[in-house]
């Protein structure tokens, strides 16, 4: 579409949307530095940050969240890429059935998925004598991560020249080399975006973890949930502020890198 200088109306509209998106966050950041417990300003203090780092429950929940997100996305990337390559060789009805079933975890409401997995784990737990915890949460997260990888890899497969693989074989690669050096290399952008989507959703998940966590496991969301139930502790403001700053830094780095790459491309 035609690019032009934005008009006043555009600027005002975007400013309003940004105010809507950021004022809750701004209030949280502001309160995190407040000495007092309420919103009334009692002076600048880093007290809540100190208390946050002393809070072992939050720290271990944060570690759980991160490790589940990394493991679930990694496992989903492997399982999903293999699945996508296989699915790409199916045609017609069979392919449609596999893809539709694969999409169920994305389409169905989180709460239904959480409840259904809880039923399964409770049933299996009775037979095999295990309790819900880290393992069941990990499996559940993999469940909703794999479809993202499949959805991101299949378009890359469609665009890939099938003779590339044969060419690699002709040039002396064995099957494994041809697979890893050529096919996976070609699919990498799709795998990476599937991985990133999985990672984001896993970090953010509350509902599915809530139903499959068992009695002892906590991730960040469920930990905040139980904190909110008791009272509203100001340490949460400090936690939010730190998370916000971390995300901000990551996004800015990504943005700068993208711009740099664009410049390199244009320079060529």
């Amino acid at each position: 579409m035609t690019k032009q200088k934005s008009g006043v109306f555009t600027k005002v509209y975007i400013a309003l949307i940004m105010i809507f998106l950021y004022s809750p966050i701004a209030v949280m950041i502001f309160s995190s530095f407040n000495k007092g417990k309420t919103l009334v300003w009692k002076g600048f203090s880093l007290r809540w940050y100190g208390e946050l780092f002393k809070n072992k429950a939050i720290i271990s929940a944060l570690i759980n969240t991160l490790s589940i997100a990394v493991l679930a996305s990694l496992f989903a990337a492997i399982l999903g890429t293999a699945a996508a390559i296989g699915i790409n060789n199916f045609k017609g009805k069979k392919r449609a059935v596999i893809q539709n079933v694969s999409n169920i975890p994305i389409i169905s409401p989180d709460i239904v998925m959480g409840v259904s997995l809880m039923l399964l784990f409770a049933y299996l737990g009775n037979i095999f004598r295990f309790e819900m915890g880290y393992g069941t949460v990990l499996i559940s997260h993999i469940c909703f991560c794999v479809p993202f990888v499949v959805l991101n890899v299949i378009p890359r497969l469609k665009r890939m020249d099938p003779s590339l693989y044969d060419a690699a074989l002709d040039l002396g690669c064995n099957q494994w080399q041809a697979f890893f050096k050529v096919v996976i290399h070609e699919l990498m952008p799709g795998i990476v975006s599937g991985f990133l989507m999985s990672f984001t959703y896993s970090l953010d998940d509350f509902i599915i973890t809530h139903f499959t966590q068992g009695a002892k496991f906590q991730n960040l969301s469920t930990e905040i949930y139980s904190m909110l139930r008791r009272q509203i502790p100001p340490t949460i403001n400090a936690l939010s502020t730190l998370l916000f700053v971390a995300i901000m830094i990551i996004m800015i780095i990504i943005n700068i890198r993208d711009r740099h790459e664009e410049k390199v491309k244009n320079g060529k």
Binding site: T10, L21, I111, L119, Y123, N237
Partner: protein, 263 residues
């Protein structure tokens, strides 16, 4: 490379962790505690008819607000410089990367008594309660899911071929006509996926209404959460009904999408 065998692990995975759990919900919904067939769970579920209607209503209004707010935003974004577009996208995504519960919590702070909004409006002489009502729930929903509406519409719009717009102009269309006859019809797939991505989670989520709404703003997700821990059978029946509703909704949205694609 030609091997279909690579799908086998995933097919087994889906069977165990997607299909069987759904079948289990179905079975649990139609049986009593001793495993005998019964329809009484659905009878119990009827008790929550009002909650169902209210949930669909809240989800509908939230989706509508998201659409009305997001569509012009997406359109404006496509008309900016590429680098500005990326920055705006980034700014829209950042709150989405914060934790789901922290986003709701931020709204509790914002809307609570003696909170910033209350204080500001009191200075203007307006007094009222801004938390604990349906409006607060809808505000929270729009906040949670607005990016899910903006992103698909923006993606589809930014792919519209500039040549089409120029062609329409050359053939004598003014900007209104260009928008009505070219930009809008081509953006419909984005609207459809935006509506789906906002409506499904907002109809089925829980907590938002617990924290921001009043006692009569309880949503179907909250009911499932509450009931399921004590009575899995009734909980499953409600989940099943919710699933059927969402399925019908998706089928209808699909029909819309197909029709537009043909027209």
């Amino acid at each position: 490379m030609k091997s279909r065998k690579l799908t086998i692990p995933y097919i087994i995975w889906m069977l165990v962790f997607t299909m069987i759990p759904i079948v289990m919900i179905g079975v649990t919904a139609f049986t009593d505690k001793n495993g005998a067939f019964t329809l009484s769970n659905f009878n119990n579920a009827l008790f929550y008819t009002n909650v169902f209607t209210k949930s669909l209503f809240i989800a509908f209004i939230s989706t509508l607000i998201c659409l009305v707010a997001a569509y012009p935003l997406a359109y404006m974004m496509t008309r900016m410089k590429k680098s500005t577009q990326n920055t705006v996208i980034m700014l829209i995504m950042i709150p989405m990367w914060m934790n789901f519960l922290l986003r709701i919590y931020a709204w509790i702070i914002l809307l609570q008594q003696n909170g910033p909004i209350d204080t500001a409006l009191s200075l203007l002489g307006i007094h009222g309660t801004y938390i604990g009502n349906t409006g607060a729930v809808i505000a929270g929903m729009v906040y949670e899911y607005l990016p899910f509406m903006v992103l698909p519409i923006y993606t589809v719009m930014s792919k519209i071929d500039n040549g089409l717009i120029e062609a329409a102009r050359d053939l004598g269309s003014n900007s209104t006509a260009v928008f009505r006859k070219v930009v809008f019809p081509l953006s419909v797939p984005g609207i459809i996926s935006g509506i789906t991505m906002v409506f499904v989670p907002s109809a089925s989520t829980f907590l938002v209404s617990q924290y921001l709404g009043g006692t009569d703003d309880i949503m179907i997700g909250d009911v499932i959460d509450k009931v399921f821990w004590t009575d899995q059978n009734t909980g499953s029946a409600i989940s099943l009904i919710l699933m059927v509703f969402i399925f019908i909704f998706l089928v209808i949205m699909n029909l819309f999408g197909d029709e537009e694609a043909i027209a």
